[in-house]
Symmetry: D2
Subunit: 507 residues, 4 copies
């Protein structure tokens, strides 16, 4: 825990006035934005996010974006202020009624201390539990009058010496079994999920793919980008309907998936989950993911560790390299541009160090058109809960200040948490927000075709001026009139010292 | 149920495409805003609010503002789309995991149908339960593929004929006991809460106060204004700390409270709840409010009905009228104006028909400076959860289109749900938003004095341009440079055909 | 609260050592038995039951029988000892982890005090909430070290003066509407449920039936007997499948139900819930019962009060008396006797003062063969959860010591809570237990016919010697060899000073 | 899953009639007994226990004994029958209302299928999740009409091929760190908990203790006996109060604990948890155990695997053997015998193959007086929830039919679940039950001394005749008049073919 993000109220004042100097507090004007900033920070920095919110009302505001934090397995402690202990049974204003129920079923664990002096143990447990596999959100409620009570010195000393190693790994026989399956396969493939997008996992995936000459797919509905998108083994992203996934995997006899549920479908389908003759193995650190999969041989343990051990043990393969991909040309005319053209322009304007936050209609295309070559370079809202991407970008930059951060945001997605921009302005967080204005919920429009339902007026969000809004929060703005204009604007990011927002019209 | 408010996603498309013509759908760009608009609509129109949200992510975004809906006892059905039934056990993207737990502990009841054909019964139960005492929020989860399944005709016919009378009243002996207590009291007083702010209750309270010559107080932390603020019996609003309430009530021997918890304290206090010699009686339709009160003789039943029956039976009193109040003069100089001066300017610019939505530092002063003479004229976020006032104003106007609606919003409060303005623009909802810019969380600043903690940087929210933000959502804007300018702008509301936002600088 | 029932452990010692002299403590050897004894006591005495259990383990043991308490709307406070406050976060042995979740979804409310001095307010709230409509179970967890902490004198004084009237009634217009429906009906009928089995309700039901010449039915799956079984208006008990109920009610145009869900079906059926042309009205004090009914016009309020007000206002009817019933003769030969013959023998051996507790295969027949002429004379496990009847009989006797109590128990039903007999022995509670031995789960056997599934070995419970078991608990025992023997044994109850158990063989 | 244990009702009939021939169904007459038998079976056989209960009432009855299953980390699936799908929204008799909440907070996961055809996936997920670390209870609710619906063949085939390896292990660096801590310690000690009582763990613990000459303690409040009680390294069982544990551990500088919480205290204490200078390391497969420990360096992973890896890597130690223990002599006179004398007599009458189930006042002494030399030889109720030991013994014998099973049960403990004896009789399960009659709750009496509270009448349970009760269930009985008599009776167990119960009087 290296920073506190939050939006305060009366219950939290005592906590905030006692914060140590070396832990910065980032004020955020809305709680959904706050958890997303904290989430981005935690994912980028590899630490546990720490959020301080106001009673049930503040917690509630965070619970939409929290679904993304949960599904992304970001370690996060959300602490809310409770009313004074004497006032809770009376139900005074700002009482957090039954806080241990409030986070259900999203949080891993929630707690409220029975004694004021148990606050430190509560926070310590929360941090450790959030950061142990499977990582997730812990919710704490602390009465406002607890912070002025003395701690128990003995107990505190013991707490401060605690350590927890919460990331167990596969038993050796499970690793052996995966190696053997790969070595014996005639047409194996690799599927990668967010759980393998670590320094160790990303490198191991490349090593494994090259050694065994494996075609590599990204698991459906991915919140990360766990493999280099220009690598010759890269085959793209698996589709999101059960039948379409089965179609793709029918090319292989053995599929091994690291760090993803098997699988994260989205588009409804009545087709079988898998074709006969395909064996799927998987590694995840989440027992629920393993137990709910409709098929597969799944071992529970750290996926990146497993990738590294499998990569080290697998036999060199004499196989041909997987088939190369060619991406379709796209129309580059304006003034409303295609998604592909916009992405190409962005790709030209960014470098391999760039970190992308994404909340956009066309998430599917992104990995095809952008050059990703480092781990932890692309972040998407894992639960599909909108409002996360814009603030998450701010947190990503705070968490990895050495890498440029670009956020690709839809004009609709921006409206869930626009006031996050204020925090970027206040702390001069150098993120470039690219807002693609298409004046509709286009992802939804595409989905209505899948579901064969007629479109309705609920798709039309015209009438927004995103530049005005950004200016209202003190952010530098620009309208990109051409693709080159967009590319140029992105290239200037290197010298930017604060948040900037550029709008481009999308078809 | 007369309208559907919502923010859709893929799970909700089938529901939305089947909506009947005579039930309008209001698109809102963020779910906290959506529930607050639906809340305002329900409170103003006296119907059950109906909200359609997207899975857990959308539901989550609404759960902050939902705390206000809960504490205000607004009847509300929140329905979220669930993934397709086949995909739920697999944990597909947008699965609402264990939805019957998600609303805990805020909602009265939550349900998900075990069979597709049970959807109508679920909605019917939800509407009835939400609207029975104590009113509140019901949460429903409906799989996306249910809407295309046929209903059971027999069952549907029976459902449509159902009726429920869910507002029981006091037994006669409880009414008699209240009348007798009043008749025998030497120094009685009346305390009114939001539960008595109905057409019937408001009138009965005036009749009772006049007949028995009762001093009338508004219960602490009030979300409504249940008594005419210029009436000669009106004494103001009770303070919010236990000791201060006890001080005020020490003037009386008998206090009767209708339609409020006993009491909704806020500011911490270690003083006794009540002084010896004071007897408190109360009527509420919420058993939990009755059971958790630290003192009192409390009967459960409809407060407005009880007020009317007590008013009809109480003896005429020969007592003197309660003492008259005089309000302090205030400094009217600018360019940063006092709260009192701003309120006086607003009072001059509005009429007795005006409905106020309020989310502002200085809620305490409002009833002193504004002229309230009709029921259902003032609405405040009952749980203190910010972000509710701005969108609630939009719902209030939609729910009572014959009355002008003015929203008094702080510059900080506006930042939780600014995109609600878009819905006002889209549907040309004629609300006038008055934003008082003081560039800080002033309520919090005042509270830090109460708690004797030093102020911190978390109070400073300077750097916002609220007019730019409003323009971004297509709203007409104005900066009031003087108090008269503000008054004039408000007077023009009569001819306004859409949303307008005026900013004034507050000290 | 007049008595404490319980089974203690270390967490509860401090509470038990401080009990006042005038509140007796009844030790029970198992917690399911304990809650059932407390339930019987509360129902018979009209007070709130109070149960003291041991942490989560003890609470858990009570949660089966608790389902009956819940469904019967018996007011009950279940208080469990929590570990010492310091040990709870460590998860020490006997920690009650998250006790506010443990009772879900059975209990109305659960609480644990944030401060030791809040224990009295917690218990006070619990008692009041349990006893307010709709009555039910409240769960409290109190740390073991709280009982030695001083209370706040001021707060305690205020608490002790509290009162709550928690049984609101129908608005007058709802009563008028029922009267009008009855007066205009051509073929009306009355259906009565457990909510009307009070002194007031029972008498009012007789008055109403006689005045309007109404056929009277008992609602399906009844836990009480709310009407005299030998009254000429009495028509019997409605069947428990949806279609069969619809068949019976098709004889009427207007049906009014007091104090029952509409309806408590049991046997599955795909037939429509109601035939066209039948209008059902109902009164219940449980909003959930009202909102979940598949049909009907249902008002929420106290059913007995409503019965009395309707009975007083309804017009005298010139209608004929409802058709008389004749009960079939039965075979009286042994040594294995028919249910009817056993019931007839019991009826001869008991008086109109007798209170029956019932947990037996043939619950349906009981009201036909036994003479019930007073309110609160028959009690059955409302949720069908076995193990309740035997101990409930003990509580019934403790709660109404002036009336003889007879328990009719199956040999299978006895095995869930046999050690309850020890408490009857220890306190010399004069109940006569009639155990009908048929060596099988006969209700289940009958149900397997309804479901068209073959019988299995899970029905056979032969090999029990119930007299040995009873002797093990110090109870006087007898084997009835003939029906007259059974009748005689029951007649001797008047002079019994302790528990007795008689076995008879049932076909 | 090799057997089904249960107590059926109407909702479960369809499931039970379709059971395959090779999965035996064991009928139990009460649900607390049923889960304990299933628990014993699962622990002894190393499989997942499978329990079939009746709706909420049956589930409720099991929830007391379930606390032991939970705290012992026994893998267990509890499946309850739900009413027919059509009847659930109506709240028909035997509806399991909100079953996914009923098991909170005891169960790991609970589920109910949204479609009838999802039953197989539900059961499959349940079995896997129950059996993955940390093992525990899963709760399933299945509507009665689902069992007659056809499964999806494709999906079923995929399900049946699924596998899950749910027991991850320590990362190698964590093992290295433990080895290094041991190697560098000057006064190390080993503490063992139930998680190391496996074939692998038990042997590895002996090897480690011998190689490093470690004093070995059993962790406080132990449900198992993870080390040979006659081994020269064995030091006994740690006390259960925080201060007393600190006192014992003060002899060491480095303590490593495998497979237990740190620590499972019971007797309240205000003393510090640990003395300065003692470093505690631990291995557990339960992240919550790790995160809630008040001190220590704790790694999450399989404890037995960790023991084996540490034992293989640790350096041979030149240390002296730990100090030898001598047990005090005891008075052997009757007719009421000391606990020690009874245990010695039992020890003489049993062999090293004997498996003990224990539920008795004097759990602390057992490991001192009994000779345990094999893994999985002693089982105690992990949560201290009484009623578990007697039925667990039956399950233990069914789960390991090659080993003799002796249950040591108090006369009070027997009264929670006596009807479990019937199942032993019905299936001729050869367990010898030793009931020690002391006519009081002696553990509680001892605790009242610890808490300095006076004794009360709630301790006195005299008046039971346990032999009568056992005879009532068809069990062979015997009263041991002397210690030799008891020893002899136990020695005859080898030839017993069914259950036997022997009573001896305890002081």
């Amino acid at each position: 825990m290296q920073a506190v993000f939050g939006n305060p109220g009366s219950n939290e004042l005592s906590f905030l006035t006692g914060l140590p100097e070396d832990i910065p507090y980032y004020l955020v004007l809305q709680e959904g934005a706050a958890i997303a900033i904290a989430d981005g920070f935690a994912q980028a920095s590899g630490t546990v996010g720490f959020l301080n919110l106001h009673a049930a009302s503040g917690t509630g505001n965070s619970m939409g974006c929290m679904t993304n934090t949960v599904d992304c397995h970001t370690p996060m402690v959300v602490m809310a202020g409770q009313q004074a202990r004497r006032y809770v049974p009376v139900g005074a204003m700002l009482t957090n009624v039954d806080p241990v129920k409030l986070g259900d079923p999203l949080v891993k664990w929630s707690g409220e201390p029975l004694r004021p002096q148990d606050g430190p143990a509560l926070v310590s447990k929360g941090l450790m539990l959030a950061d142990s596999a499977p990582r997730g959100v812990v919710y704490l409620s602390v009465p406002l009058d607890d912070w002025t009570q003395p701690a128990e010195e003995d107990a505190l000393d013991l707490l401060l010496e605690r350590e927890m190693i919460g990331t167990p790994v596969l038993p050796q026989k499970a690793v052996d079994s995966l190696v053997s399956a790969l070595d014996r396969a005639s047409a194996p493939a690799l599927v990668l999920g967010p759980g393998s997008d670590t320094e160790e996992g990303f490198q191991a995936a490349v090593a494994l793919a090259e050694r065994a000459r494996l075609p590599v797919w990204v698991a459906p509905s991915p919140p990360r980008s766990p493999f280099p998108t220009r690598h010759r083994c890269y085959q793209g992203q698996l589709p999101s309907s059960a039948g379409a996934v089965a179609d793709v995997l029918a090319r292989y006899d053995t599929v091994i998936c690291f760090g993803a549920p098997v699988f994260r479908y989205h588009a409804p389908s009545d087709d079988p989950f898998l074709r006969p003759g395909v064996r799927v193995h998987a590694v995840t650190d989440d027992p629920d993911e393993a137990a709910r999969a409709p098929f597969g041989r799944i071992a529970v343990g750290d996926p990146s560790d497993a990738l590294a051990r499998v990569a080290a043990a697998v036999a060199d393969s004499g196989r041909d390299w997987p088939p190369a991909r060619t991406l379709p040309e796209t129309d580059t005319s304006g003034p409303h541009f295609t998604t592909e053209a916009i992405l190409d322009a962005i790709d030209r304007g960014t470098s391999e160090d760039t970190v992308f936050a994404l909340e956009w209609t066309s998430a599917d295309l992104v990995r095809d058109r952008l050059t990703i070559s480092r781990p932890k370079s692309l972040f998407y809202c894992a639960a599909g809960g909108l409002g996360w991407g814009l603030p998450a970008a701010i947190g990503l930059r705070l968490g990895c200040p050495d890498r440029p951060v670009v956020a690709l945001i839809g004009d609709g997605a921006m409206q869930y948490t626009p006031s996050a921009l204020w925090t970027a302005m206040r702390h001069q967080v150098a993120v470039t927000f690219v807002v693609c204005t298409n004046t509709k919920y286009r992802a939804l429009q595409e989905f209505s075709e899948v579901l064969h339902v007629p479109e309705g007026p609920y798709l039309d969000i015209s009438g927004l001026d995103v530049l005005d809004i950004a200016r209202g929060y003190g952010v530098e703005t620009h309208r990109a009139e051409s693709l080159d204009d967009l590319t140029d604007y992105l290239r200037q990011q290197e010298t930017a010292t604060g948040p900037r927002l550029v709008e481009i019209l999308q078809r």
